[in-house]
Symmetry: D2
Subunit: 165 residues, 4 copies
Amino acid sequence: MNRLHVPVSLRWSDLDAYQHVNNVEMFRLLEDARITAFWRHPEAEDPWPTAILDTGPHATSHTLVAGQQIEYLRPLQFSRDPVRVEMWIGSLGGASLEVCYEVHDGAPGGFARTGPPSGAEPYTRAVTTIVVIDAASGSPRRITPEERAVFEEFSGDPIEFRRRR
Amino acid sequence: MNRLHVPVSLRWSDLDAYQHVNNVEMFRLLEDARITAFWRHPEAEDPWPTAILDTGPHATSHTLVAGQQIEYLRPLQFSRDPVRVEMWIGSLGGASLEVCYEVHDGAPGGFARTGPPSGAEPYTRAVTTIVVIDAASGSPRRITPEERAVFEEFSGDPIEFRRRR
Amino acid sequence: MNRLHVPVSLRWSDLDAYQHVNNVEMFRLLEDARITAFWRHPEAEDPWPTAILDTGPHATSHTLVAGQQIEYLRPLQFSRDPVRVEMWIGSLGGASLEVCYEVHDGAPGGFARTGPPSGAEPYTRAVTTIVVIDAASGSPRRITPEERAVFEEFSGDPIEFRRRR
Amino acid sequence: MNRLHVPVSLRWSDLDAYQHVNNVEMFRLLEDARITAFWRHPEAEDPWPTAILDTGPHATSHTLVAGQQIEYLRPLQFSRDPVRVEMWIGSLGGASLEVCYEVHDGAPGGFARTGPPSGAEPYTRAVTTIVVIDAASGSPRRITPEERAVFEEFSGDPIEFRRRR
C-alpha cells in the first residue's frame, strides 16, 4: 500500500488555550495536506503525482467536501518541524472519493513524497468525502480514467474508527 | 424532544475563496455553540441550562474532544444574522457524551434558548464525542448525577449520517 | 462626536495559548465590526446608517485595505457577552478613508447603534486605511457625495498612538 | 545590513473571498515568522541565531505585543512555495524592540537563514512592537546584554510608512 507523505507546517496559532493543536485546527492541517497533494497549480514545477484536480478561476471542475470524520488519539504539541500527513484513497466511487489521513511526526531528514504506512500510532486519523463537480453545470461529474488511475495507485483500506455511529 | 437553540454569529472570514462558509470553519461555529451552551463561566449572569461543565484555570475538570463527524448538506452564505445551532445529546456514556448539531437559519424575531426540532433541512449535521476529564488526575471521570440529569433533558436520537463507514 | 457602536461576539478560538484574545485575532474582530457597519447586504432589513458600500459578486465597487495600525492597551479575556467596537472616521480623502476603532466592554442592556464615545479606557485602539475601488476598472474611484455625507456624520479626531513611527 | 530570511508556508485558508491572502491573515504569517525566528524551543536542534527568547510553560520571561503597523503594497496569491519574510530590528529600547518585516517571494532554491535585503518591492511591510516581560513579576524586564548583542546584529533602519499618522 502506497501512501502520500505530505509535510504540513504548524503555526503557533494552531494552539488553543489548552496549548495543544486545537481539534478544529486539525482539519485545517488536513485541508492543507489535501490541497498540496491533489490540486493542480499552474505555477507548480514539481507537482505531486496526485495533483490532477483542476483549480482556480478558470478550472473546468472543482470539488466539494460532502462529509468528514475524525478521531483524536494523542494531543499534538507545537513544533517548528512540519508534521507528516499520510494520505490514501479509502474508497473510490463514480464521482466521489474518500481521502484518508493519518498525522505523524515528520521525518527529520526530509520527506519522501510517497511511501509505505509508517506504522506508528498517529496523532489523528480522519477521512474526507470529496465530490468532483463540473464547473459549468454545477453537478457532480464522473471521475475520469486518468484521474482514476492515479487515485488507484494510492488506494488503501478505509479507516476503522473506534466509535461506530 | 427538547433541543438547545444557540445563536452563533458568522464572520466574513468564515468564507473561503468559494465565498461559502468553509467546511473547516463550520466546526468552528459548532465549537462556539458548544462552548456557549455547556461551559460554566464565572461571569455569566444568565447561563444556559446545560452550562454545568467547569472551565478556566481553576476548574476541577475539563473536556476533551475525542472525535467528530459532519455532513454538509447545503452551502451556507454569509449573513449578518446569526445562524441557529440546534443541539442535543445523542448518547450518554459513563464519562463521555455525544453532542449532536444541526445548523439552521436563525429565527428573525429572536431566539428561544430551548425548543423542539425546527424540522427544516439543515445546512449541516454533525456530532462531537466529548470525554469529561478530572483536572487533577488527567483521567476520564464519571459524569455526575447532576450533570446527567441536565444532559438527559436534552437527549435525542443519534444522527443517521447518509454515508456509513 | 457621533460614533458607531458595533457589537462583536468573541469566539473561544480567539484565545491563544496565553488565554487572551490573540493580537492578530483582534484585527479579525475589527474586520467583523467594519463589515457589519459599512457593507450593504442585499438581505439586510435593518441596515446600519453607514451600510452604503456595495459588496458581493455583482457589486460595482469594492474596497481594499491599504494599511492598519493598532495599539494593545489591556488584555481581553473571553466572555459570552459581545464586545462593543466604537468606530468613527478619522480622515476622509478623495478615494480613501481611515476607519478608527476602540474596543470596549459591551453594554449589558443592549446596544444603541450610535452614540457618543464611551470615555472608558479601551482594550485596543486601531485604524484601518480603506481605498474604494471601481470594480470594472480596478482603480480607486472617488467617494460619492452620498457616501461622503454619511461618513462625515461619523467623523472624529484621528487616533494619537502613543508610539510614533 | 543583515536580515533574517524566514520561510513561511501559506495555507489555502489564508485566502479570503477575494481570493487573495486576507489582510488580517497577513499578520498571522508575520507572527509565524517571528515565532520561528525568535523563540527558543526546547526541542530545536538547529535554532535561528535570534532564537533566544524563552517560551513555554516554564519560561522565566515571555513577550507581549504592544502595537503593530502594516502597509499592503501588492496582493499576495496562493502558492505552494513558502514566502520569504525578511526581518530586522528597527529599534531597540530598554525592555522593548521593534521587529520589522517585508514579505517577498521565496527563493526557489532554498533559504539562507540570513542575508542582505532582497531589494525587490515587497508585498507587505510591517512592524511589531514587542515588550519583554518577566514571568514571575508580570512586569517589563530589561533586555539582557546577551539578547541585545544578538538583536544588534540584525538592526536596521525603521520602516518609513507611506502614510503618516
